[in-house]
């Protein structure tokens, strides 16, 4: 049975997602239970697969028994395993958070559809992570995106609809670019299997066809990952989405987009592909640096907590892309570590924002006065996650940013180092804007409806934040894993 795990990982949530909305009312009432069971099963499958992928180096599954490159191949290497585990874990956390949060933000009759979309979303992400076929990648990107649009539209204010619509338009343009890019690559190499493309493309690296395909793919994926300046859909979407959705999207959505980008740049193409007319590294690194600073500065100016967190995402995504652009072993390790760190921490932060919104109705940074005393656990989780994101020593964020900065030094990119450090500092400053009034101001007039949120919401937020600290202390394990994944990706022994 173990050998079927890759297929099951995608099919289980997909089937559950389709069945929930069309089942009788009695079943619909337990939509959450079905979703959570599916997510938990996915986590178990992912854990097992990850273990196998790290032990063997690669797990492969042939769809319909057809051998690649003719059939669709699912393959999981350590990098995929890392992302798989992360996605499954955050989905579980977001779902358990949703149990109390979703009914507070959504009408009861829409809940089954909501859970169904969440499952569809993870199914799509899982597919993106484990597929070895580039067209299949496109299909899964669209499945995840469609579910994402629907999830964002579920926000309680009408602005959510506009945010979702704008995201849909941009996302569809991105997807069409990706499709076009795939078409060009197929024209040039005559295959869709990623591993096969890797072998066949080098003979035609010099052609314009390949270059065009590559450009379309990278631009399309940049929109999906919200790389500055293609991030404009992100702040509205994250701000107006229901808080479990913001948490899930911020933690997994953009991360998997980055994963797809890394796959295209490093798995489909070889490092030798270095278009002389277009200095790839410089462009990507430059945009990433600009994004780090821009996102942080704009976050600094925000008064809405969720919007601040959204711009913070733009900044942190810059870090991840930066590591990929520098693309030496150390920086790539840092990039992967930052994917993990940012996913866990941003999920926790959005969950905390949701808890605060639910308990006090506070949306603005100024409304948090004295909250540290009244909601100690929530604010403790928030603070810990913020520290980790800012890269405080002994948190996961320090490890990732250390690797990124060291990678930049190793690559001789001296100008990048101050950007990394200044970005960190700005991160600390904009989180400070929230934390200081919470702990060091007399209580404001907003009284929480209840002192702390229900345990179901609080537990995942605290757990995720605690994980950030734990990963910072026991950094050996993630650093080793990310290092291994990076080494395989870059072809270093």
């Amino acid at each position: 049975m173990t050998e079927h795990f890759p297929a099951l990982l995608v099919i289980l949530p997909l089937l559950a997602a389709v069945l929930i909305p069309f089942s009788p009312a009695a079943v619909k009432r337990s939509a959450w239970h079905i979703s959570f069971a599916s997510a938990a099963a996915s986590l178990a499958l992912a854990a097992r697969l990850a273990w196998e992928a790290f032990a063997l180096g690669k797990v492969s599954y042939w769809f319909g028994g057809w051998a690649p490159p003719w059939g669709i191949e699912y393959s999981i290497d350590p990098l995929g395993a890392l992302l798989l585990l992360l996605t499954a874990f955050v989905t579980c956390a977001a779902l358990s958070y949703s149990r109390a949060a979703a009914p507070a933000e959504l009408a009861a009759e829409r809940l089954p559809y909501f859970y169904s979309c969440m499952l569809l979303f993870t199914s799509g992400l899982t597919g993106i992570i484990i597929t070895g076929d580039i067209f299949n990648l496109y299909v899964f990107i669209e499945i995840a995106s469609l579910a994402g649009y629907a999830l964002i539209a579920a926000g309680r204010r009408r602005e959510a609809l506009v945010a979702s619509y704008n995201y849909l338009i941009l996302g569809t343009i991105a997807a069409t670019f990706i499709l076009l890019g795939i078409g060009y690559l197929y024209m040039a190499a005559g295959t869709l299997n990623m591993a096969d493309l890797r072998e066949r493309l080098p003979q035609v690296y010099h052609t314009k066809t390949v270059l065009t395909g590559f450009a379309f793919l990278v631009v399309g994926l940049s929109i999906k990952t919200a790389l500055f300046p293609l991030h404009i859909w992100l702040p509205d979407a994250y701000t107006h989405a229901p808080s479990p959705v913001s948490a899930l999207l911020a933690a997994t959505g953009t991360k998997v987009g980055i994963y797809a980008m890394i796959r295209v740049i490093f798995t489909v193409f070889k490092p030798e592909f270095n278009p002389s007319t277009v200095p790839m590294t410089v462009i990507l690194a430059g945009l990433a640096c600009a994004g780090i600073i821009y996102g942080a500065l704009v976050a600094l100016a925000q008064t809405n907590i969720k919007r601040l967190l959204a711009y913070s995402s733009v900044s942190q995504i810059g870090y991840i892309i930066l590591g990929a652009a520098i693309s030496n072993q150390t920086a790539m390790t840092g990039s992967l570590l930052h994917i993990i760190n940012h996913a866990l921490m941003k999920a926790s932060l959005f969950m905390c924002a949701g808890i605060i919104l639910m308990s006090t109705g506070a949306e603005k940074t100024g409304d948090l006065k004295g909250l540290g005393r009244r909601m100690p656990l929530t604010m403790a989780a928030f603070t810990a996650a913020a520290c980790s994101l800012a890269g405080l020593p002994l948190t996961a964020g320090f490890i990732s940013k250390w690797h990124l900065a060291l990678g930049a030094v190793e690559a001789g990119l001296w100008l990048v180092v101050p950007v990394i450090l200044a970005g960190s500092l700005l991160t600390a400053v904009y989180f400070w804007k929230i934390i200081e009034p919470a702990y060091f101001s007399p209580a404001g007039e907003r009284r929480p409806v209840r002192p702390e949120a229900p345990a179901g919401m609080l537990a995942p937020a605290v757990l995720l934040a605690a994980l950030g600290v734990a990963l910072g202390l026991a950094a050996h394990f993630p650093a080793l894993g990310a290092g291994r994944a990076a080494a395989l990706l870059l072809g270093n022994p």
Partner: protein, 492 residues
């Protein structure tokens, strides 16, 4: 050199941490809370003192390391320099605790639990920095000191306190994150290790990499804003919004000394004096320090607020240590290390006095102090002794440190710095002597009121400052132990 594996340094760090946790747990009961503080302070000092004999023999005490990931290790190592810093801080913590109890009760400060808990946490961090075996550990505890002291600076939660706290954070965190972390990155990339090693870690690289090493050194110095070298000194006056015990222990001892301690560490154990003099990095730093010494003294002259005057005096005095380190000669470094301790005892007395004057007489300005020496003779006598030590007159501890630093300047072939020391002594006299004169002989006839220095609470304030003043005096006559440790430390 013998190395002894032991958990003692870890215990020294944990003692105050545990005290801090117990303090925050026993929030409602002041007596119990303070008992924990004293217990923590006593245990901590005892543990640190127990390491003295081994260190005196030249051995190094080493804890097992906790490797976070390859190249990043949390580990403690005790040498003479660290022992001086930790011993000084933990000893003064005991006295400050006594003083704080009197101070916060007298003034009825709020949120005393947070106050004492953060105090304990800061001391933990200071010990952690003192015993750090590598740059990574040092960096962590250096940052922890900032974060743990921030609630103390912003303690009053007034607008002024919060903005002072913000300046404090921006300067200390800002410089350490941008500059020091960059310096650590460069060092790690260049040397492949972050361990503190006597003689430096760049051994093989030598002067060939002058630009790289110069950048690293400059970044280290700029990153250590706690040493308050100009232009990174503004946080120290801003932090004076804190309650006086905080200013006393933290901004005369733990925090600022953490800065100069780290600079000494960088000079001695990251670069090594040989490499630095080979590269010629000493004189620029010495000149910056000399400028800070003089400029800060001039600024101190212009302050009417007593605590601010003391703050600028601290800025000036800290640069003596930096100057001693920058001269790179054996004597000057010895003098710098000695000055670290001598200044700590003297400056804490001055702050204690300022706090006692505020708590008992509600006076904060220099211009209000006329005649106060007659009402508070004990306090002002102690104040005078320590002010004289600052100036560097014998028979006080300040004289010894300045003597060695001056000797070092001659040794290093840069006697010009003797003039700096002399000029600074004059400036010090210019801003301290008028206070003393006014206190004892100034002002008109004051009505014979009862001295405020009576009563148990007032005694809690006065006894610690008399003790520290006594030590400042005693260090001149019995400098043996401290000098021996400084000698050991300067040897590397």
């Amino acid at each position: 050199m013998t190395e002894i594996i032991t958990f003692k340094p870890l215990f020294a760090v944990l003692a105050s941490l545990a005290a801090g946790i117990m303090v925050s747990l026993s929030g409602g009961r002041p007596a119990l809370r303070e008992a924990w503080t004293f217990a923590g302070a006593a245990v901590k000092f005892a543990v640190i003192a127990s390491m003295l004999p081994a260190v005196m023999t030249g051995a190094q005490l080493l804890t097992p390391g906790l490797t976070l990931f390859p190249g990043m290790e949390l580990r403690f190592r005790v040498d003479a320099l660290g022992l001086i810093f930790a011993g000084m801080a933990s000893f003064l913590w005991i006295l400050t605790s006594v003083y704080s109890v009197g101070y916060v009760r007298k003034l009825g400060e709020e949120k005393q639990t947070r106050f004492f808990a953060c105090f304990a946490l800061t001391l933990s961090a200071a010990a952690g920095l003192a015993f750090a075996a590598n740059l990574f550990t040092a960096f962590i505890f250096y940052e922890l000191i900032t974060l743990a002291t921030w609630p103390l600076v912003a303690h009053k939660e007034t607008k002024e306190a919060l903005s002072g706290g913000r300046i404090y954070l921006v300067y200390l965190l800002g410089t350490s994150v941008t500059f020091m972390l960059a310096a650590i990155l460069i060092s790690y990339n260049a040397a492949g290790t972050l361990d503190f090693r006597p003689g430096g870690i760049f051994g093989a690289m030598g002067p060939g990499h002058k630009v790289l090493l110069g950048a690293a050194f400059a970044l280290f110095i700029a990153g250590t804003a706690k040493a308050a070298i100009m232009p990174f000194h503004s946080w120290l006056p801003a932090a004076m919004v804190a309650p006086t015990p905080v200013s006393a222990l933290l901004h005369a001892v733990a925090v600022v000394k953490a800065g100069v301690f780290l600079i000494l560490k960088v000079v001695l154990h990251v670069f090594g004096t040989d490499l630095l003099s080979e590269l010629g990095f000493g004189p620029p730093l010495a000149w910056i320090a000399a400028f800070t010494i003089l400029a800060a003294s001039v600024m101190a002259l212009r302050q009417d607020n007593l605590k601010l005057r003391l703050a600028y005096s601290t800025v000036s005095q800290l640069s003596y240590v930096v100057l001693g380190a920058a001269l790179l000669s054996h004597s000057s470094i010895k003098g710098a290390i000695f000055h670290m301790a001598a200044h700590a005892f003297a400056k804490i007395t001055l702050f204690f006095s300022a706090g006692a004057i505020y708590a008992l007489e509600r006076k904060t300005k220099v211009s209000e102090l006329a005649g106060i020496g007659r009402r508070m003779p004990l306090t002002m006598t102690a104040f005078s002794i320590c002010a004289l030590s600052m100036i560097g007159t014998p028979p006080l501890a300040g004289f010894i440190s300045k003597w060695y630093i001056g000797l070092g300047a001659v040794e290093a072939g840069q006697p010009v710095f003797l003039a700096v020391i002399g000029a600074s002594a004059l400036l010090n006299a210019a801003y301290f002597l008028p206070i003393i004169y006014q206190a004892f002989w100034g002002g008109g006839e004051t009505a014979a009121v009862e001295s405020p220095e009576k009563g148990p609470l007032a005694m809690l304030l006065v006894i610690p400052l008399l003790l520290t003043a006594g030590i400042t005096l005693g260090l001149f006559f019995f400098p043996g132990l401290l000098l021996e440790l400084a000698e050991l430390a300067a040897k590397g």
